[in-house]
C-alpha cells in the first residue's frame, strides 16, 4: 500500500489541469436537455476529443490515452474541479464504448468508436419498455431477421437524451417463441432510420431529458448487431455492469458536491444552525463522499491488478444515489424559503444550481436498476440469501 501519487501521475494531473484551464468554457453551458445546450455540449465533446481528452481510458489508436483507472480518477478530479461540462455522450463513451471493445467486431469498432469519440454521433439507450422497467427480461420489442436486415417493431422508453441523439443501442426479441432472458439480441439503431418516431418525455423540470422511441418496421443492417443473435442478455449485463459500476459516477462529482455543500453551510451558518440536523448532515455528506472516493480508489487499484468487480458493485449504486439525494436535501434545508426558486429568480441569491441538482438527484435511486432491485441483488448474489 502506497497512498501517494507517482511523479508520472502528478505530471498527468498537471497536464489535465492545464489543458482544462485553457479550454473549459468560462460560462457554464446551457443544460443538454435543450436543443441549443445539446449542440453546445456536442461541440465541447469534439473539443475534448481534439485534445485527446475525450476518453482517456481508451487505447491510443482510438484517440484515447490508454490510461489506467487511477489516471482516469485523476482526470475526473480535475474535470469536476474545473467545472467542465457534463458529458452529453456518456451513454456512448462509458457504456457502449467498453461493451463494443469487448463484444464488437473490428469493423464495428472502427466504424463506430471514432465518431463516438468526437461527439459526431451521440448515443442513447433503448433498454426499458413500458412493461419492462426494473424487469428488463420482459422486453417485447421484436427484431426479425430478413436477409441481411433486422426488421424492428415495438417501443422503447426512458431513453435518456434520445430526443437529439443520433443512435440508440438496445435489446430486441429476435426469437418470438422465447421468454425472459433468452432470445434477445443487442442491436445498434440509427435514429434517423425510416419508421422511427421519437416522442420526447418531459421530466420533472419540464425539459425533455428522455424520450419514447417507437419502431414501425424499422430496417437495420445486420452488421449493427452487437454479439451473437440471442446473446443480447449477456452483452447487456456487461453494459449494465459498467453503468452501475464506477465509470459513470466518479467520486469527484460527489466530492465537489460535498465541498459546495460545506461552502453553502458556511455561507449560511447562522440560519442553518437553527436546525441542528443540518450541521450533522453536512458532516456526513463530507464523510460519505470521502468514503466513496477511498473505496473507489481501492477498487480501481484492485482492478488495475487484474481483479474483477463482483456483486458488490450493486452497493455502489445505492451508496452514491442516496448520498446525492441526502446532500441535495441538506442544501434545500439550508436554503430554506429560497430552495424552491429557479436560479434566475431575482431574489434567489446564492441558490446556485442546487434545485436542478435536487431534481436530478430524485432519479438516482430509480434509474439503472432501482435501488430495490439492487438490494435484492446484494442480498442474493453478494450475501447468498435465499431467493423466493
Amino acid at each position: 500500500m502506497e497512498l501517494t501519487y507517482t511523479d508520472k501521475q502528478k505530471a498527468f494531473r498537471e497536464e489535465v489541469r492545464s489543458w482544462l484551464a485553457d479550454n473549459v468554457p468560462a460560462e457554464p453551458l446551457q443544460t443538454f436537455d435543450t436543443e441549443a445546450g445539446f449542440q453546445a455540449h456536442r461541440e465541447w465533446e469534439a473539443r475534448l476529443n481534439a485534445g485527446r481528452w475525450g476518453m482517456v481510458t481508451w487505447p491510443e489508436e482510438l484517440g484515447g490515452r490508454g490510461c489506467d483507472l487511477i489516471e482516469w480518477l485523476i482526470f475526473e478530479e480535475e474535470y469536476y474541479k474545473a467545472g467542465a461540462p457534463l458529458r452529453v455522450n456518456q451513454n456512448g463513451i462509458f457504456l457502449l464504448g467498453p461493451t463494443l471493445m469487448e463484444y464488437g467486431t473490428e469493423e464495428q469498432k472502427a466504424r463506430i468508436l471514432p465518431k463516438m469519440a468526437t461527439g459526431e454521433e451521440v448515443w442513447s439507450q433503448g433498454w426499458s419498455e413500458p412493461n419492462a422497467g426494473s424487469d428488463m427480461a420482459a422486453i417485447r420489442s421484436t427484431a426479425r431477421l430478413e436477409g441481411d436486415k433486422y426488421i424492428i417493431n415495438g417501443q422503447k422508453t426512458w431513453s435518456t437524451r434520445a430526443v437529439w441523439a443520433d443512435w440508440c443501442f438496445g435489446m430486441f426479441r429476435t426469437d418470438p417463441e422465447s421468454e425472459r432472458h433468452r432470445g434477445l439480441t443487442f442491436i445498434l439503431v440509427p435514429l434517423d432510420t425510416p419508421g422511427i418516431t421519437v416522442r420526447p418525455i418531459p421530466q420533472l423540470d419540464g425539459l425533455p431529458g428522455f424520450a419514447e422511441i417507437f419502431f414501425d418496421n424499422v430496417e437495420v443492417a445486420v452488421e449493427n448487431r452487437l454479439g451473437d443473435e440471442g446473446a443480447g442478455w449477456a452483452v447487456a449485463m456487461a453494459t449494465a455492469g459498467f453503468e452501475r459500476g464506477l465509470m459513470l459516477r466518479s467520486p469527484a462529482r460527489f466530492q465537489e458536491t460535498a465541498r459546495r455543500l460545506v461552502e453553502l453551510y458556511r455561507a449560511n451558518q447562522s440560519s442553518a444552525d437553527q436546525d441542528p440536523a443540518v450541521r450533522d448532515a453536512v458532516l456526513r455528506a463530507y464523510l460519505d463522499a470521502e468514503s466513496y472516493c477511498l473505496s473507489t480508489y481501492q477498487t480501481a487499484c484492485r482492478l488495475n491488478k487484474g481483479g474483477k468487480i463482483g456483486a458488490e458493485s450493486s452497493t455502489n449504486k445505492i451508496f452514491w444515489s442516496e448520498l446525492d439525494q441526502n446532500m441535495h436535501a441538506t442544501a434545500m434545508s439550508i436554503l430554506g424559503a429560497r430552495a424552491e426558486l429557479l436560479p434566475h429568480a431575482p431574489d434567489a441569491s446564492g441558490v446556485g444550481n442546487w434545485l436542478d441538482g435536487w431534481l436530478f438527484a430524485q432519479s438516482g435511486p430509480i434509474y439503472a436498476g432501482t435501488n430495490e432491485v439492487q438490494r435484492n441483488i446484494i442480498a442474493e448474489r453478494m450475501l447468498g440469501m435465499p431467493r423466493r
Binding site: A337, E340, I366
Partner: protein
Amino acid sequence: MDFTFSEDQLLFQDSVRDFLVNEVTPERIRASWETASGRDAALWAQLAELGLTGLTVPEELGGLGMSELDFILLAQECGYVALAEPLVHTALVAVPLLRELGGELAAQWLPRIAAGEAKVIVGLEHNLLVEDAHVADLLLLQRGERILAATPDQVALRHNESVDPSRRLFAVDVAADAAEVASGERAAELATRALDRGALGCAAQALGLAQRMVDMSVQYTSERQQFGQAIGAFQAVKHHMANIAVRLEYARAPVHRAAYSVACAEAVASQAVSHAKLVACEAANLAAKNCIQVHGAMGYTWEVDLHIFMKKAWALANSWGDAGFHKTRVGEHIFAEGAALGAGATFA
C-alpha cells in the same frame, strides 16, 4: 376533553372534498399553469358561492363565522387537490388578521372577501416572498415595526419563479403612502399570530398532500406489473408506503391540536403550530420521496401528476418558517429551565 370533530364539521369536510376532487382536477391545475396569473377566477367564484371564502368571516359581515378549527379539515382537503387559489391563506391568515385589526378596514374588506369579490394577501417580514401578491386587491404588509395596508397601485411586484408552477411568488416593494394599520408591540403580536396561522395552513395542506401521494401510489403500484405481479405486492414497495402511513397517522392529531390552540388563542399556540408544521411537512416530504421511488421512472416525469403534489409539499416545508425556525421555537420551550414536560403536561 373531547378531541373529536363534530358531525357537522365532518360532513362539511366530506362535501368540500367532493367538490374539490371533482373540480380541482390535475388537468385544471395544469391548465392554470399556462395562464398569465396562474389563478382561476371561475374557480374562486365557485369557492365563494360555497361560502368558503367567507368561512372565517363573521356572520354579521356576510360570512359563516367559523373558526380556524372549523377550517382545518378543509385546509387538508385543499392540500389533497393541491388547490392553487389562496383559499387557505384567506381563511387562515388574511381574514383573521383583518378581524383582529377590526374597525373600518375589517368592515370594508371582510364582506367583499366573503362575497368572493376581493382577495386580501398578507406578507410578513418572515416571508421571503409573498404568494399571490399579484391577485391581491389589498395587501397587509409587515414592514419593520408596522403593518401597512396597501392597494395594488401602492406596490411594485417582482416575480420569482418557483419549481412548483402553481406557486406565484413576489417580492413586494411598498410605497411610502401606504396606510399604517398597526405598529409597535401590537403589530409584532399580530404578525406572530399571522405567522402561526400561515404555518398551520401549511401543516394541514401537507397532510392532504401526503394522503394524495399515498393514494396515487397505492393505485399505481396496484396496477403496474413487473416480474409477473403488481409491484405493490412486493414487500419493499409495501414498506415504503407503510412508512409514510405511520408518520402521517401521527402527524394528524398535532395539526388538529394546533388548530384548536390557535382558535382558542392558547398560550402554547406557537409551539403547537411549530410541532404540527414540523411533523406534517416531514410526513409529506417522506411521502414525496417514497412515492416517487415506487413510481419508478414514471414519477420522474412531468406527465404523471405526482410532481404536482410533490413540489407543493417541498415548497410548503420551507414556507411560513422552515424547519430551523420551527425547531428553534420548540427548542426554546423544551430546553428552557423548568419547562413543563412529560406525562400530563400536554393539555395542562
